[in-house]
């Protein structure tokens, strides 16, 4: 499997592969590619461990019952497995955290970076849930459907990212 052991693919080739995944998504699942809804499914289960009433909240209940959200949860687990296989096959396994963080922020400790990452993940999902989608759902899928709202969402995502990245050293 040369394509799997290859160290890298051109970003254009990777984009074509991801874009083609819309075919099974629309034909077999009757939805578009997305990722952030699966975090609500996980959230609903975690909340249910501590609070039996969590399942009564309509928003959580919706993400625990539809098979579409189980498909998406399986999709993001598959993403982790795919990246694992890909890195394994080409000998590009990562360790600890990306060296870029040290260049950008001076952070050298994994603990400090994990605190930052936790905060980042929190902000990420609050934003994605307010917007109703992330870089997959609004970005890749929304723009492929010429959705007006998704196009605005992509512009504001970029704006937010550019603003925050001004705080970092140039990578």
């Amino acid at each position: 499997m040369d394509i799997l052991t290859k160290k890298s693919w051109s970003p254009y080739a990777a984009g074509v592969v991801i874009g083609l995944l819309q075919i099974p998504a629309f034909l077999l699942v009757d939805t578009a590619l997305g990722a952030s809804s699966s975090f609500v499914t996980a959230a609903a289960w975690v909340a249910g461990l501590f609070d039996p009433a969590a399942a009564q909240i309509d928003y959580f209940a919706k993400y625990m019952t539809s098979s579409k959200y189980y498909w998406q949860s399986a999709l993001v687990i598959g993403i982790a497995l795919g990246a694992f296989l890909s890195a394994k096959a080409s000998g590009t396994e990562r360790a600890s955290f990306a060296p870029s963080w040290t260049k950008m922020t001076g952070i050298r400790s994994l603990t400090v970076r994990m605190v930052m990452g936790f905060a980042g993940g929190f902000v990420l999902l609050i934003g994605a849930r307010i917007a109703g989608g992330c870089t997959s759902g609004h970005g890749i899928s929304g723009m492929a459907q010429l959705a007006v709202g998704s196009t605005v969402a992509v512009a504001t995502m970029f704006a937010g990212g550019i603003l925050m990245s001004l705080a970092y050293k140039k990578i």
């Binding site: 874009g19 687990i77 990452g117 196009t151």
Partner: protein
């Protein structure tokens, strides 16, 4: 479709997605932030290519086979404010919700914290959804697409947009060649590991 089928399908599609994210380095924090600093255009290239491919796919599925689209609502409050917060989150996390999982797969330990933080974010949003909606739910223009605004069928506009994106990629590749960006990744996109580690692993043992 049965739940079992959906889960297997999701896993298989995710596998392909994850391989593409790792091979293209789009899941690297340095690549995402590099894009926001306009130092590295790998993310934009992948994104434009995936969108152009999706446009062609949907032009055919919708235009020829009448497969329904699922555009999200153009709600200005949520989309503008949520998008800004999401963008800040991407730069802090060094990941999007999908690529955080790819980082876990590739071996980055901090990505586990990103996912945990994300689940907590979704829990906080779910418990306070009424408050978020009361503050931010304004300016909902409905699930409109540009094909609703411009007197062209979706398939025609989608193909035109795809052609525009392809032209944009050609220009982008001229301005920022992939060959230069490859060397700016934490894990180089080409060349043997020996170069990255600074010593020879294979071949003759060092004298």
């Amino acid at each position: 479709m049965s739940l079992f089928f959906m889960i297997v399908l999701g896993l298989v599609m995710g596998l392909v997605f994850g391989v593409a994210l790792e091979k293209s380095r789009v899941m690297e924090p340095g690549v995402l932030v590099g894009q926001f600093q306009f130092r590295n255009f790998i993310m934009l290239k992948m994104f434009l290519s995936a969108t152009a491919t999706g446009l062609v796919v949907l032009a055919v599925l919708n235009g020829v086979f009448d497969v329904p689209l699922h555009p999200k609502a153009a709600a200005w409050g949520p989309v503008v404010i949520g998008g800004l917060i999401l963008g800040i989150g991407i730069a802090l996390a060094g990941a999007c919700p999908g690529t955080a999982l790819a980082q876990i797969g590739a071996g980055y330990k901090d990505a586990w914290a990103v996912v945990a933080g994300g689940i907590l974010g979704a829990i906080v949003y779910g418990y306070n959804i009424d408050w978020f909606k009361s503050v931010l739910d304004f300016g909902d223009a409905g699930k409109i697409t540009f094909a609703d605004l411009i007197p062209l069928p979706f398939w025609a506009l989608a193909l035109l947009a795809a052609a525009g994106l392809i032209a944009l990629m050609v220009v982008l590749e001229r301005l920022s060649p992939s060959a230069i960006e490859n060397g700016r990744c934490d894990v180089p996109m080409e060349g043997p590991d020996e170069d990255r580690l600074g010593h020879q692993v294979h071949g003759q043992p060092a004298e």
